[in-house]
């Protein structure tokens, strides 16, 4: 009897009793199992039906599945390639790899430029100058409302309509814009530059260690030793000394008009330049809005409080506002980076040979539709996943540490 009247709170906590599943519709566990079996069954049945049809169709068309075609000679002419490529001897595998490299090339350069341009425009929209604020607002409103593909086609025709090499628009003897694309001077790379670069990377590592030391010291003593003299020394002076010690070579290879075209220098082909221009200006209009709303999300009191503390305006921005704004900015920025990367696939419409374009040519030539599309999807899933992982890591780093 005493047991039943005892205070249940005094009893040791017990696990909930394991209930056996009843074979009845009234039992939620049973219902869940039935629903899952049903839904998964339907999905599997559809997939099986589609795969069976596909196999029959492939058999009827005498198409062999598999990635064996990757070893065959491609014969696809590729205008721009980061690795040596010869259409007469290289395989589909190499051609598709070049496609991936081209996609990564445009995506990385595009992300960097779009971030810079978008940030500038976003800050411009918050300017006290009415004209600047309205103009940047107009830019954002207009570019967001026009399909990217239309913008790409427009830029491409504009570049194609440029005057020929002989009447090219030029900036002195250095840069030329003609219907052959944009020509820029190129630094002739020599061993001294490689060593200077090595010194710079070593400098980065040293700076990183110094910053960490400074943090530890600040945590321990409250006094932060200055890092910048070390940083300037190892990041600027050291590479310069290395470069000078090796004879300070510096020769620019200028593009020069010979006959009907330019020789030498760095070339941005019209396709590449149009794609870059379109992607950067379009994505920048989204990034500008993200930056603007990020800065506006920082409460006014934060500015006032930091001014009251006597911080300089640079310090306010760097130490108070930006760290808080970044928390709002980074997640949507991630999706814009992903969008830019995915949008780079529109290259196929203007003839820049990215992964989609080359895979499309491959599947037209070989008839390997499933493999070609699987390849495109795998590449983009991998890129998307990598960007997401990196940005999530960065986001976790700058996230508010709650104690």
């Amino acid at each position: 009897m005493a047991d039943t009247t005892a205070d249940p709170r005094l009893a040791a906590p017990r696990a909930a009793p394991r209930r056996r599943m009843r074979l009845s519709w009234a039992d939620p566990v049973f219902r869940a199992v039935v629903w899952q079996v049903l839904i998964v069954g339907v999905v599997v049945a559809i997939a099986w039906y589609l795969i069976r049809n596909t196999n029959e169709n492939l058999a009827a068309r005498h198409i062999a599945t598999g990635f064996g075609f990757l070893g065959r000679v491609a014969g696809i002419p590729i205008g721009e390639s980061l690795i040596p490529y010869n259409p007469a001897s290289d395989t589909y595998g190499t051609a598709l790899l070049i496609g991936v490299l081209n996609t990564l090339d445009i995506a990385i350069i595009g992300i960097i430029l779009a971030t810079i341009l978008g940030t500038l425009i976003g800050i411009g929209r918050l300017s006290k100058n009415w004209l600047l604020a309205k103009l940047t607002g107009f830019y954002v409103e207009t570019l967001r409302d026009i399909p990217l593909l239309l913008q790409l086609l427009f830029w491409y025709t504009v570049l194609q309509g440029m005057p020929g090499p002989k009447q090219a628009w030029h900036l002195g003897d250095a840069a030329f814009l003609s219907n052959r694309g944009l020509k820029l001077p190129r630094l002739e790379w020599q061993t001294a530059h490689t060593w200077a670069l090595v010194a710079f990377v070593a400098g980065l590592i040293v700076t990183w260690f110094c910053t960490r030391r400074a943090h530890e010291r600040q945590d321990a003593t409250g006094v932060r030793p200055a890092v910048w003299p070390v940083a300037v020394g190892v990041l600027v002076v050291l590479p310069l000394i290395v470069w000078a010690a090796l004879g300070a070579p510096f020769t620019l290879e200028l593009p020069a008009l010979r006959g009907f075209n330019f020789q030498g220098g760095l070339t941005l082909a019209p396709e590449y330049f149009a794609l870059l221009l379109g992607l950067v200006t379009y994505t920048a209009s989204y990034i500008a809005e993200i930056v603007r709303s990020g800065i506006q999300a920082v409460p006014l009191g934060q500015w006032e409080a930091s001014r009251a503390l006597g911080l300089s305006s640079g310090a306010i921005l760097r130490r108070i506002v930006l760290p808080q704004a970044l928390r709002v900015i980074v997640p949507p920025m991630t999706s814009q980076y992903l969008n830019l990367t995915k949008n780079s696939s529109l290259a196929v419409a203007i003839g820049y040979q990215d992964v989609v374009s080359i895979a499309n040519t491959t599947l037209n030539q070989t008839g390997q539709a499933i493999e070609g599309i699987a390849y495109i999807m795998a590449v983009f899933l991998l890129i998307s996943l990598s960007i997401s992982l990196f940005m999530n890591w960065y986001n976790a780093r700058i996230a508010l540490v709650e104690r």
């Binding site: 049809n53 409302d145 399909p147 921005l317 419409a349 899933l381």
Partner: protein
């Protein structure tokens, strides 16, 4: 990036103060605030003036609106060729606007796609007005979409039959976007619910896979899949029309994105709502249909509109798989030999159509967001 150039959300006080001081004071505060601001104003003012003068000269003063036609009906574009670079040749739009807007739809029947466009616009406006946000709206959508199908296909009520091969232009763009949104929405709601169904792990995994795979690849990959792989999926002899294939690809694509928007609304809802519904003894579907979804969907209407704007622009990608939407028809018009080389004019015309739709929708979405937030603010 100095403090002087940053305009922190202004208090209402300063704005009224400026307004009461007249235009000179306003200009002093907003255009000539500091030497830096003055320099920016002067520089931008000069550039804007130059651009406006250039655009007006090119687009209005030296523009050519009509060209003579030769006896066999071919446009004689010599005037335009001569004015190239100095004046716009709007004659290309005057000559080709029917082709661009309605594609190869039989010329005498083009009033039908014109009505379809108006029906779509009317549908958007009615759906946008909050006084019509009730169950009957679903009925309106069904009726209007059915009417659009009847008008486009014909074959009944004495309308001559027009197959999908002859459709083109703006109706295709609107059909892809609207039918895509209408059919992907129920799919998106189910997927969003499935993704939150912790008690059904297998369903949850399926939904996560679907959403993440579609969102991880570009729309072109999905469209290629529809145009190249879809025929392989079908049993021999079954031939699905290209437009329908693209439409299915669009629905699958839009479904994944809308599902994430809907999931955002489901997550924003306080858990007390679901717990209270459970406590009342409502079944899962009663709880979802009467308690959760009405509140969650209301929360996400502005992002839904924004996503729809995205789809509207994305429909232009069907150019790559050879469907004759608005953008493709623009390119087709440009391939006509006399009009080759007047792409700037055509692209500007196309851009203005897209801007008209997208700007109206984004303006609406922002107004809605403000209104909905106002009602929540206390």
């Amino acid at each position: 990036m100095s403090e002087a150039t940053l305009h922190i959300p202004t208090a209402v006080r300063t704005q009224t103060a400026i307004a009461s001081l007249g235009p000179v004071a306003w200009a002093r505060a907003n255009l000539l605030g500091s030497w830096w601001s003055t320099a920016v104003t002067l520089l931008l003012g000069y550039i804007i003036l130059r651009v406006i003068v250039g655009v007006v000269e090119w687009g209005l003063i030296h523009a050519i609106w009509t060209v003579p036609y030769s006896a066999n009906g071919i446009a004689d574009t010599l005037v335009c060729q001569a004015a190239k670079g100095t004046g716009a040749c709007w004659a290309v739009l005057v000559d080709k606007y029917r082709l661009i807007l309605f594609g190869r739809y039989p010329y005498a029947e083009q009033w039908r796609p014109a009505i379809v466009v108006l029906l779509f616009v009317g549908l958007y406006i009615v759906s946008g007005l909050r006084r019509f946000w009730r169950k009957e709206l679903l009925l309106v959508w069904i009726v209007v979409l059915a009417a659009i199908g009847v008008l486009m296909w014909g074959g009944v009520f004495g309308l001559s039959e027009v197959t999908e091969d002859n459709w083109g232009g703006l109706p295709i763009t609107l059909i892809l976007a609207t039918f895509g949104a209408a059919f992907s929405f129920p799919l998106a709601v189910l997927v969003a619910l499935g993704r939150r169904a912790t008690k059904l792990p297998a369903v949850k995994i399926l939904c996560v896979l679907y959403v993440e795979i579609i969102r991880g690849v570009p729309l072109i990959a999905v469209l290629f899949m529809a145009s190249v792989m879809f025929p392989l999926f079908m049993p021999a002899g079954v031939n699905v029309d290209k437009l329908l294939r693209a439409q299915i690809a669009f629905i699958l694509f839009a479904g994944a994105y809308l599902a994430e928007v809907v999931r955002g609304g489901l997550q924003a809802l306080p858990p007390g709502q679901a717990e209270a519904a459970d406590a009342l003894g409502l079944s899962y579907w009663q709880k979802t249909g009467f308690i959760i979804l009405p509140q969650a969907l209301r929360l996400v209407i502005p992002p839904l509109v924004n996503t729809f704007i995205g789809f509207f622009k994305d429909t232009s990608l069907v150019l790559i798989i050879g469907i004759f939407d608005l953008l493709t028809m623009g390119k087709v018009a440009l391939s006509d030999p006399p009009w080759q080389g007047f792409s700037t004019e055509v692209y500007l015309g196309l851009a203005s159509v897209y801007i008209a739709f997208c700007f109206a929708m984004s303006k609406y979405s922002r107004g809605l967001e403000r209104d909905l937030n106002r009602s929540r603010a206390r």
